[in-house]
């Protein structure tokens, strides 16, 4: 069945070749491949297009090999081969037929260079060649490749493929690809009009791009249609843009929330101006790195779980660092904010330099698990997985912390100590230990934030520095000592920032946000959600 399909396709294609006036003899694949050996990038592009036009599916593996950098030139006779294998000798295969043709030493071969232009040409050719593949996923990818690079050459192929296609998902993409290719062909105007309608339905920036590039080449009578289609797409895009800004804002807000929420405990609840907070985040990120390194070496199959494993590790490690820090430095400085500031600043430098000496000054690679890579479309929104997960994670951390403070015995003791230390002490609460564990908790949460931030930022000794100011900003803006304030503060700062950014740019946007906060603090010195009552005094 498959062979029949392929044969039919090849036949249809041969016909189209005849019509387009190309002599079949001109495109002998083996000779064309050998020409690649001496070609520059521009010539290579032409040869690939020529090879693609043969419609010969046997060439697919050779194209894939070319794209992967497995196509080699044999120096002695200037012939081109697909070469595979590791080590000093490589297996050679004829690129046109796929037959094995002996082997050669690596030194006797030169790798054929690939650049973006060549890669694009290969993708186009592959798209055309695999439209009739028996594998649904391959057809889908092929249709998408054709959609990306409209060319009238693919039209006949697409039509042949559409006749056979049964899967509706693939059909839709093929229809779209056909419409796109049709615009750059010499088909009659009424067909193109329909094509413009189809493209309009695709929507999004890509559709605008396709229409704009077609505008220059099509018949003048079609221009109004194209303009109308573009205007229509832009109208819908405007709405989506606003939604996209809210999304970006939420995502930035969730990062700010994560960075600040630990500080909301150490600074907000305990009143310690903890300049080493950023370094706790950094240590959390490095814990993730260590966990991932361990997994890479010992159990690579667990890699997708690495973040889940890193969370408790980071929490415990940074919590322990926080505990030591509180017991050794901070407990002697309660009630002396200036000294605390200087001491914790010093600690932050010590921690940075310690990490620098241990792990080196350069960035460490923390990989994204597969479920955190890439993006998906939600209507007109492009939502990246890593941001979505970080938003969810920050909400979970926030709720868990809230539950801990409000519903647990430790939370009760903690609130008791912050509200009235002497009373709490006379009720039998060991206030020094509550202090120590509160600080450890705040630090541990900073460590959790580090795990999340390792997914979107550099894991370097400087990681913490870039978040410390923002964290203080969020806590002060939201209202010291109030977790809900931190939540609202982080999200509103994120959204304001992301609405300003498209208009005034990132640099000015950030400055404007700071100015707004200064003005706001003048009006409400205690932030958004000020604590009331005796506890404040």
């Amino acid at each position: 069945m498959t062979t029949f399909r392929n044969a039919a396709a090849a036949f249809a294609f041969l016909l189209s070749l005849l019509f387009s006036g190309l002599a079949a003899a001109q495109s002998d694949p083996a000779a064309l491949f050998d020409q690649l050996g001496k070609a520059n990038f521009a010539e290579t592009e032409k040869i690939i297009a020529e090879l693609g036009k043969t419609g010969d599916v046997k060439l697919v593996p050779a194209f894939e090999a070319f794209s992967a950098g497995d196509l080699y030139l044999r120096k002695e006779d200037g012939k081109v081969f697909v070469a595979r294998g590791t080590g000093a000798t490589l297996q050679l295969f004829n690129p046109a037929t796929g037959e094995a043709t002996g082997e050669a030493a690596k030194g006797a071969l030169t790798k054929l260079k690939v650049n973006n232009t060549v890669r694009r040409a290969i993708n186009n050719a592959l798209g055309g060649l695999t439209l009739l593949s028996p594998d649904k996923a391959v057809r889908f990818a092929a249709a998408q490749a054709v959609l990306k690079s409209p060319s009238a050459d693919n039209l006949a192929l697409l039509e042949a493929a559409l006749e056979k296609e049964t899967d509706s998902g693939v059909r839709t993409i093929m229809e779209e690809a056909k419409a796109v290719s049709l615009l750059s062909s010499d088909r009659p105007v009424d067909q193109k009009k329909l094509a413009i309608e189809t493209i309009k339905k695709i929507g999004g920036r890509d559709a605008i791009g396709i229409l704009r590039s077609a505008e220059a080449s099509v018949d003048a009578s079609l221009k109004p249609d194209i303009d109308k289609a573009i205007a229509g797409i832009e109208d819908t895009l405007k709405l989506w843009d606003a939604a996209q800004n809210v999304w970006y804002g939420l995502s930035l807000g969730s990062v700010l929330l994560l960075a600040a929420i630990g500080l909301a405990i150490t600074f907000g609840v305990m009143g310690v101006i903890n300049m080493a907070h950023g370094e706790m985040v950094m240590i959390g990120a490095y814990s993730t790195f260590i966990v991932q390194e361990f997994i890479r070496q010992n159990a690579p199959e667990l890699f997708d779980w690495s973040l889940a494993i890193a969370l408790p590790v980071a929490f415990v490690v940074t919590g322990a660092v926080g505990l030591v820090l509180e017991r050794s430095v901070i407990r002697f400085l309660y009630g002396r904010p200036l000294e605390t500031l200087l001491a914790t600043w010093g600690v932050s430098l010590v921690l940075q330099q310690a990490v620098r000496s241990l792990f080196g000054p350069t960035n460490r690679e923390v990989g994204n698990p597969s479920w955190m890579s890439g993006s998906f479309q939600l209507g007109g929104l492009a939502i990246t997985w890593n941001r979505l997960w970080i938003i969810l994670f920050s909400i979970v951390v926030f709720l868990a912390l809230l539950a801990l403070l409000k519903r647990s015995a430790f939370g009760l003791q903690m609130r008791a100590v912050t509200q009235n230390r002497r009373m709490a002490s006379s009720m039998g609460i060991k206030t020094p230990w509550v202090d120590a564990f509160t600080f450890a908790l705040g630090s541990g949460i900073a460590g959790l934030a580090g795990v999340a931030l390792s997914q979107i930022d550099n894991v370097s000794p400087n990681l913490g520095q870039s978040y410390i100011i923002d964290s203080f900003m969020v806590v002060v803006f939201g209202g010291v000592g109030n977790l809900w304030g931190t939540l609202v503060g982080a999200l509103s700062l994120g959204i304001v920032n992301k609405f300003l950014e498209p208009y005034v740019g990132a640099v000015l946007g950030k400055i404007l946000v700071l100015v707004l906060i200064i003005l706001f603090i003048q009006k409400r010195p205690r932030g958004l959600f000020a604590l009331k009552g005796r506890a404040v005094e």
Binding site: R205, R212, G346, R356, R387, I469, A506
Partner: protein, 429 residues
């Protein structure tokens, strides 16, 4: 607020480390050279490698018998990423330690900070990093790339090979990207690219939330013409930038990004699979196929005892500067600054891409420009190599500097000679 705290922090750190490092003692029969690279603070990420590179070169030179029959001795100080401290440390090196030459600095701010010190105390600085040009000092040798040795050939590649018609000039907001983008904008307009097809955008240092910027690039690229990004984004901000590009699905075949600050070292902290095909322009890549390079990499791995350590462009620039200095000292027969300044001009030493680099009268060097595409293994595949290019200190594409030249040889001896007025002393320094 942020800056102030950073600075005071850096000062503290520097005060701690300075006493430990600069107290190196020396016997009388050595020649001392200074190493002025940040080993702590934000720039340590880039500069520590260069300190190691100088130490390795010193060790290698000493194995060959040193210079003028004396051993070389490196005096390492830590200016802690703090620009004013760079000037203090430079003064210490020259006045107290009496070093014959200094290898150091990374950022332009640190170079501008030490420049008056080197001129006042008449010593020599070898500056190994690509920079924005518009400067020429009698006491500084710029062995990194000037804009015409990096930015302009890269844009040419985009125009010719990739057929790019729209350009996003994306940079971090400081002097190097701003000057480079000014030069590039003028150059692109001279190449017939209309102004509305050039988008210039800046982000703050250490910027990490690239969602909006990447969306903007996507939008700019959907105008029906082939678009590309020319990135002068600085070190730390690159990782989140590339991650966001990868996540939003912008592939190099759609919108290629050519970067001037991303090399092997920066890629070491990244998963490069989604980045294959994005470009960088340098004068050296670790993947260069040349005997000198193979030798250099071998020595580097042996010196650092780590065969995974990558080499990069500023290391090559350090290598060229160091060897040119050694050759000039041997030609002059002394380390005396004035004599070495005379003898070094015209000195040609092998570079690592298989050719020779010559020190020109404008204190810049000749070297080829390489364009590389990022590979899955974090290395670059070289897709274009130009002939040797002379570094142009005063850009021909800026109205203020197009009439200026620099020539530090005897009769002229001027860093900013104005060919229009025929006088030394145009605009700039």
């Amino acid at each position: 607020m942020s800056l102030k705290i950073k600075l005071s922090g850096a000062l503290l750190a520097a005060a701690m480390s300075a006493t430990a490092l600069s107290g190196a003692f020396a016997a009388e029969d050595t020649i001392k050279i200074g190493v002025l690279h940040s080993l702590s603070g934000t720039m340590a990420i880039s500069e520590t490698t260069l300190k190691d590179a100088v130490l390795m070169l010193v060790e290698e030179q000493n194995k060959k018998g040193g210079v003028l029959g004396k051993k070389l001795e490196a005096v390492v100080v830590d200016p802690a990423s703090d620009w004013p401290l760079f000037a203090e440390k430079a003064r210490d090196l020259i006045a107290k330690d009496k070093v014959a030459a200094v290898f150091g600095c990374w950022t332009s701010s640190s170079r501008k900070s030490v420049l008056p010190v080197f001129e006042e105390l008449n010593s020599i600085l070898f500056y190994p990093v690509q920079y924005e040009g518009e400067e020429s000092s009698r006491n500084i040798f710029y062995t990194g790339a000037a804009p015409n040795q990096q930015a302009i050939p890269a844009v040419d590649y985009l125009l010719e090979e990739e057929g790019v018609k729209r350009f996003v000039l994306e940079g971090t907001d400081y002097v190097y990207p701003r000057t480079t983008n000014k030069i590039l904008e003028a150059y692109l307009i001279s190449k017939g690219i209309p102004k509305e097809d050039i988008l210039i955008n800046y982000t703050p240092f250490g910027f990490s939330d690239w969602q909006t910027e990447v969306a903007k690039i996507k939008e700019f690229g959907s105008a029906g013409k082939k678009a590309a990004v020319v990135s002068t984004v600085n070190g730390d901000a690159n990782v989140p930038f590339y991650k966001e590009l990868g996540n939003q699905g912008i592939k190099a075949t759609d919108i290629p990004v050519v970067a001037f600050s991303v090399g092997e070292e920066e890629l070491a902290g990244l998963d490069t699979k989604p980045l294959v095909g994005h470009l960088a322009a340098w004068n050296y890549f670790q993947s260069v196929e040349a005997d000198a390079n193979a030798e250099f990499i071998k020595t580097w791995h042996a010196y650092t005892k780590n065969d995974k350590r990558v080499t990069n462009d500023p290391m090559e620039a350090t290598y060229i500067g160091f060897n040119a200095w050694v050759k000039a000292v041997e030609a002059a027969g002394t380390t005396d600054t004035d004599k070495v300044l005379d003898s070094i001009i015209g000195v040609a030493v092998p570079n690592l891409s298989g050719g020779y680099s010559t020190v020109m009268p404008n204190h810049h060097i000749t070297k080829p420009v390489l364009i590389g595409e990022i590979q899955e293994d974090g290395q670059f595949s070289i897709v274009k190599e130009t002939a040797s290019v002379v570094g142009d200190e005063w850009s021909d594409f800026l109205p203020d500097s197009k009439d200026l030249i620099s020539d530090w040889r005897a009769p002229m001896s001027c860093g900013n000679f104005n060919v229009a007025t025929g006088k030394c002393g145009g605009k700039g320094k």
